[in-house]
């Protein structure tokens, strides 16, 4: 291959990643799902975006990335599916991730986690799924390090490859609080408690870089004394 042709190919390679990416997508990852029939009523909601009525394939993995269930469902044009993840993992107790793909047309997805004990309804929550293949860098725009607050950085593998993640913790003023390196197994996820790394009471921002595979993330914060639980997705850089 001559130099001109190689240069041309290189330039095409550079152009490709800049092209449009949208929020509706063919493939999604739900960072976190729970099947625990005695405690949780969970819903996997998958919605058609383009009226194409695709067949959606779901693969359920535990936190170590082991495939624990799978299923295929027909999604009605302009309709949605509301599925119980438990039915696909034989109602076993599982904490893991869900990978969803559509055979045609764009879809969107979300996960709802309801608590069966009415006294725990304040923990009911929902999180939107992340478009695959995920990110190489993430920002948790806020975290709490406090023994009285349950706070978790939830990092899920999105591209089927082991990812070594480096998490750098900073306080609100930008002071470096330390870093951690953890392995997120292919198709699995890691749940990290900021307190265990920062070891003092503070709030801040966490910057995450992955090596080897891509990841997506959520931040969960719950406080029993104030009876609230919130979840939101981390910002990412493709």
């Amino acid at each position: 291959m001559n130099r001109t042709r190689m240069t041309y190919l290189l330039s095409v390679f550079l152009v490709l990643p800049v092209l449009v990416n949208a929020q509706g997508s063919r493939e999604f990852v739900v960072n976190h799902f729970v099947s625990d029939p005695n405690v949780i009523e969970s819903h996997l909601v998958i919605t058609d975006v383009e009226g194409k009525g695709p067949i959606v394939t779901m693969k359920f993995y535990d936190n170590d990335g082991n495939l624990v269930g799978e299923g295929k469902e027909l999604l009605q044009p302009f309709g949605k599916l509301n599925l119980d993840p438990g039915e696909y993992v034989k109602h076993a107790v599982v904490n893991g991730t869900v990978h969803i793909s559509a055979d045609r047309g764009n879809i969107v997805a979300e996960y709802w986690q309801f608590y069966k004990d009415p006294e725990e309804s304040w923990k009911n929550t929902t999180a939107i799924a992340v478009s695959a293949p995920g990110f190489s860098k993430l920002v948790a725009p806020h975290f709490v390090s406090d023994q009285d607050v349950e706070a978790y950085l939830v990092l899920a593998s999105t591209d089927g490859k082991d990812a070594v993640v480096t998490i750098r913790f900073y306080d609100d003023t930008g002071r470096n609080l330390g870093k951690a390196r953890e392995l997120v197994k292919a198709n699995g996820k890691r749940i990290l408690k900021p307190w265990e790394y920062v070891k003092h009471k503070t709030t801040g921002v966490a910057f995450i870089e992955s090596d080897g595979g891509r990841v997506a993330g959520e931040y969960w914060q719950a406080q029993e004394s104030k009876r609230y639980q919130v979840v939101y997705p981390m910002g990412g850089i493709k």
């Binding site: 449009v20 509706g24 764009n106 929902t126 478009s131 920002v139 002071r175």
Partner: protein, 367 residues
Amino acid sequence: MRRFFRNPVWLFVAIAFTGFVTQTSYGQAGKSLIINHFVVDPDVIEGHLVVSDVTGKGGRVDIWFYDQNGVLAGKTSQIIPAHGKINLDPQRYVQQKKLIGTIRMDSREVITGQYWQFYKDPSLGWKNIAVPAAVAPGATKLVCQHFVSDPTIESYIVIADAEGTSPTLYVEFYSDQGELAGQKRYVIPRNGKLSILPSEAVGGKKMTGVAYVQTEGGKITGEYWQVSPGEKYQVAHAMLGSAPEAKVMAEETLLRIQINFDFDSDKIQKRSYADLAEVAKAMNDPRNKSFRYEIAGYTDDVGKRSYNIKLSERRARSVMKHLISKCGVDASRLVSVGYGPDNPLVPNTSEANRARNRRVEFKRLSK
């Protein structure tokens, strides 16, 4: 350097590389953000606007607070420390004692934001919530992937004007099975927001479903909120955009979208202009630019077949003319054809199905 740029190959490499660097894409982060909904009500709510650095550079962020009618209620500029964040109480920056509205933020660097709404009454802790900021300039189409219409549940589709253009919204509500349950039109005040009650739009029917929002005259951002006072929970999440895109057209030979026309006319309604602009952008994308396209018009089965075929031909031609004259697609790449009621997508057995069959398809032809 001049010699370098005279060589078209290297110039192309430079442009490509510049594009790569400048268009690195972020999820939930950007230089302009919108908080779709915030509340100032000091006796009831403790609100927090959290804005975080993403790139490790920090820098200034300009913040504007608007009421839901789009009236500027306050503004501030703040410095975000590199790798750090700011945590503001919106109440400090607005003149009114009580306010519901939106927040807009601009920064030279990429930032990410959230709004936290805590309830001061400890017995209402179950309503505490955090919602990520939407990234401006928003989208021309949004999907609310789930809504509830149920007298025991409060649910809201919250839509904010993202560009300051006071867009018109066309919202279609479908059941989980994909049956049309309601249609509504709304206008958002410039820089303001709307809270839409799905239950009103579907005539109070108890149901769950999906809502599709399309705009005319500007881009929007959106959230869905659901509160159950009986079960004591409140959740909210961002709505996602869904406009036709270059990637899809590159991968598939057929793009099917709903183009809206005036009744019994070939005049395209303005609400479809944004979709056609996206289709043209996709057609002019480098991956698709070597292809020609057939624009095919279809009708439902109401009326005489010969009349419907002529109407579908006129509508397809109207779309073709729009793509050429308004969107810059080369005329030699397009042909139009009308198929009338042929090849229905679904049986013409209900008004919802007939609406789905009244469509325009863009079929990729050989190079």
